[in-house]
Symmetry: C2
Subunit: 304 residues, 2 copies
DNA sequence: CTGAAAGCGCTTACAG
DNA sequence: CTGAAAGCGCTTACAG
């Protein structure tokens, strides 16, 4: 050992991996919407990246990071070639497209964890925040402030199960309050400022009557805020606004954005822990992480 | 080839790496200031991470990402163990501490690129933005708006060569305008909102007379902005403010932050290209990337 | 140009 | 419990 230290000996990773059949490496695949421009990575996933990197390091795993298009052919690239022992999939995007890819991973016997939607057939291999609860919390907050005509921005189609679950929470909160959801107050929006901006324009220019907006992400909310302000609507006086995620930008905009905070630190740690469990063939359960309301100034009523 | 395709054959990375003595992998080490809290990663480096990931993928290299403390023992972990063919080092932090680490890398024959300061002894292995030019540009912008008493926030000691270079640019611009830099208008600040906040408090509470501030980063500027506003100073009416980096938050704060934009897309691509050059024993030159002024509302004079 | 052999540096399974 | 041997799956250098 002393001599080894003197000679600065290091175990050759390739040789060790070849013999022992594992690499002690996790591959993190980030899927970007093809719509977003190159330089802009979703800040929420960036925050997840940080906590995943920390969690992997804590478990002595190396982390391979790669940005992908969902359409790319990435299924075999990592585990089949023994580059990584397991894969973490991060990204919105149409989950219907995932089906085929996940089947390919399954067939290859790959170990993987998906962040986001709870997928029935992939029990234990998905982890997400409780989106229904998040949608309910933001809606209840607006209701508690006396708002009644609450719009919803986010694509609630089956291809976007996370946004859809948030919509279900919104719907449930309204119904509990005796309010029937009004479809004319819903607008599809993907996760971008621009989508939020356009959705609000469509709402206002379409003559919709609303006093609050629940959004599916802070990015959408920030775009919505900009549109509202340009159209002469005051936030929160005329319209209350709630985001989702609590990305750093949420606290920088004016007024500060009330939002639903996702615990990325916990999420990253659980993704890594569960994946390592799967790698070691332990049985692992899917789980939901509870998000929580963070009150700033965009809804009024509460001081910062 | 057909059979291989049918059987979904993949080359085993470990075996290939063992035999051919290279891994086609780059390790990206991000150094965090011990001072910043866990969850908050410098947004500028996060943006670099994105462009490095893209550039590595474009050159068919895998990217290993790791967050480190500068004090950790990371020198041998990557290249000596054949995990990676080369290393990219990203981070502020006291570069005086780097010396020893870099020597260890050199002794091990490692290939590496450092982002940031130009280090004489490591020609070709460092790449940075032209910080002197950046500091000069922001100061000249303020001078052109009629500002005369321009404060400077950022640690300008030798341990922080990037901030120091920005200070030199500030100094040069002032002298060219016939103004002698006033040391009582300079405050050390590390790269954080909190440091900017405290520095402005110290300036104002110390009775300093200033009508503009040049900062070494957007994070510092955002903290400074908050302090100014809390102390009843209007930006830009009473005090003009310039940031550095152009992180996403710069456009979210109110007023939008005029800043010096670093071209992270180009920087990431050049870091990767130069590193691959070093790996292939090609000779590579150090370079400076020219930053450019982005005008928003925090200096006044110019409309958004 | 083609094809078989050597060997990269480990870890594990096995013989003593 | 200890120590020597086998072999992981490639790529390269070499023989034909």
């Amino acid at each position: 050992m002393e001599v080894a230290r003197e000679l600065n000996y290091r175990v050759d990773k390739n040789a060790a991996g070849l013999r022992s059949r594992h690499s002690n490496t996790i591959a993190l695949l980030l899927f970007e919407d093809s719509s977003t421009d190159e330089s802009q990575i979703n800040p929420f996933f960036l925050s997840m990246l940080g906590s995943i990197a920390r969690a992997a390091a804590a478990s002595d795993y190396d982390l391979l990071v790669s940005f992908q298009q969902l359409s790319n052919n990435w299924q075999g690239r990592y585990e089949a070639s023994n580059r990584a022992d397991g894969i973490i999939l991060l990204g919105y995007g149409d989950y219907l497209n995932y089906g085929e890819k996940l089947r390919a991973l399954d067939e290859g016997g790959a170990h993987y964890m998906i962040w986001g939607p709870t997928i029935e057939q992939h029990d234990g291999r998905s982890l997400g925040c409780d989106n229904v609860s998040g949608g309910r919390q933001s809606t209840e907050h607006l209701l508690s402030l006396g708002r009644k005509r609450i719009a919803f921005l986010g694509d609630n189609s089956p291809g976007f199960p996370e946004f859809r679950a948030r919509y279900f929470g919104y719907e449930a909160a309204l119904k509990t309050a005796g309010i029937e959801p009004d479809p004319s107050l819903q607008r599809d929006a993907e996760n971008s400022e621009n989508a939020g901006y356009i959705a609000v324009q469509s709402l206002v220019l379409g003559g919709a009557d609303f006093d609050a907006i629940v959004t599916c992400s802070d990015l959408i909310a920030i775009g919505a805020l900009r549109a509202l302000q340009e159209l002469g609507k005051h936030v929160p006086e005329d319209v209350s606004l709630v985001g989702f995620d609590d990305i750093p930008a949420a606290s920088y905009v004016n007024p500060g954005l009330t939002t639903i905070r996702q615990d990325t630190l916990r999420a990253g740690a659980m993704l890594v822990d569960n994946l390592i469990g799967l790698i070691h063939e332990r049985s692992v359960a899917s789980a939901l992480i509870e998000p929580r309301l963070v009150v700033r100034r965009s809804c009024g009523g509460h001081p910062r």
